[in-house]
Amino acid sequence: MHSELLVIEDTSLHLSIVSKIASQAGFTTTGANSVGEAARLLRERSFDCITLDLSLGEESGVDILRLLAEMKCRTPIIVVSGSGDEAREETLKIGNFLDLNLCPPIPKPINLAVLRNALAEIANDTQRQKLATPVSG
C-alpha cells in the first residue's frame, strides 16, 4: 500500500528528483508546478504528505500555506527550497501561526538522504495510522 505525496515544484528537474526519492520512500507522487494546479489537486484529492517549493515562478509557496490553512489541513508539509535560511525560518513561523503541520525544512541543493529519511518516516506513520483506523461499512 503506497502513501500519496503531492510535490509542488515549478522546475521539472526538482520535481523529477523529489518524485524518484519519494518513490523509494514508499510514496506515489503527483506533481503540481503552480499555485493554481496545486489548489485544484488539493481540493479534489487527499494526500498523505506535501513537499513545497517556496519559489514558484512569479508565485509564492506561502500562498499554498494560506490555502491549506483555510482547508484546515493537517497533512505533513516539507518545505524544500533554495531560499535562504531566513526565508525558510520565516515560512516555518507562518506555518506554525496558521496551525499547519510543518516538518523541518530541507534546503536546496537537496540532501537526498535527509529527504528520503524524512519521507520514509512520514510514510511509515501514515501506514500505521491507516492500519489502525477501522474500515467502515
Binding site: T11, L13, H14, S16, I17, K20, S55, G82
Partner: protein, 118 residues
C-alpha cells in the same frame, strides 16, 4: 598538476552526482541529468535574451532556480555565480550583467566538459 586538479574541483564536485546515482540508480540519475542539461542550456539562453534594466525580477528568479539545479549536480562554480546573480540582480549595470553571463557560460561549459572526460 595540483593547480589543474584544484581548478577542476572548483568547477565540478563529482561526488554529488555519485551520491545521486547511489540514491536513485544509474538510469534515473542519467534521466534527471538530461533534464538538468536541457533546463540549464535553456535558462542560460533566456538570461542572454533578457535586459537587466527591464528584467531584474525575472533574472533574479531564473538565477535562483539555476543556483539550486547547478548545486544539485555539483556544478560548483556555476552555482556560485548564479547565487551572485540572484543577490545582485537588483543593482547590476548592463555591462556587469553581460560579464557575469560570460562567466556563467564558461563555468557551465567547463563543468560539462569535465563530466564528459569521466
Amino acid at each position: 598538476m595540483q593547480s589543474a586538479l584544484a581548478d577542476a574541483a572548483s568547477m565540478l564536485d563529482r561526488e554529488v552526482f555519485r551520491e545521486l546515482v547511489r540514491e536513485i540508480g544509474e538510469q534515473a540519475a542519467s534521466e534527471v541529468h538530461a533534464v538538468f542539461a536541457a533546463e540549464t542550456e535553456s535558462r542560460l539562453k533566456l538570461l542572454r535574451e533578457l535586459s537587466i534594466e527591464q528584467g531584474r525580477t525575472k533574472i533574479g528568479r531564473e538565477a535562483h532556480s539555476l543556483k539550486s539545479s547547478a548545486g544539485t549536480f555539483g556544478y560548483r562554480a556555476l552555482a556560485g555565480l548564479a547565487l551572485r546573480l540572484e543577490r545582485e540582480a537588483a543593482r547590476l549595470a548592463e555591462g556587469e550583467y553581460r560579464a557575469l553571463l560570460d562567466q556563467m557560460d564558461a563555468a557551465y561549459s567547463s563543468a560539462a566538459a569535465l563530466e564528459l572526460q569521466g
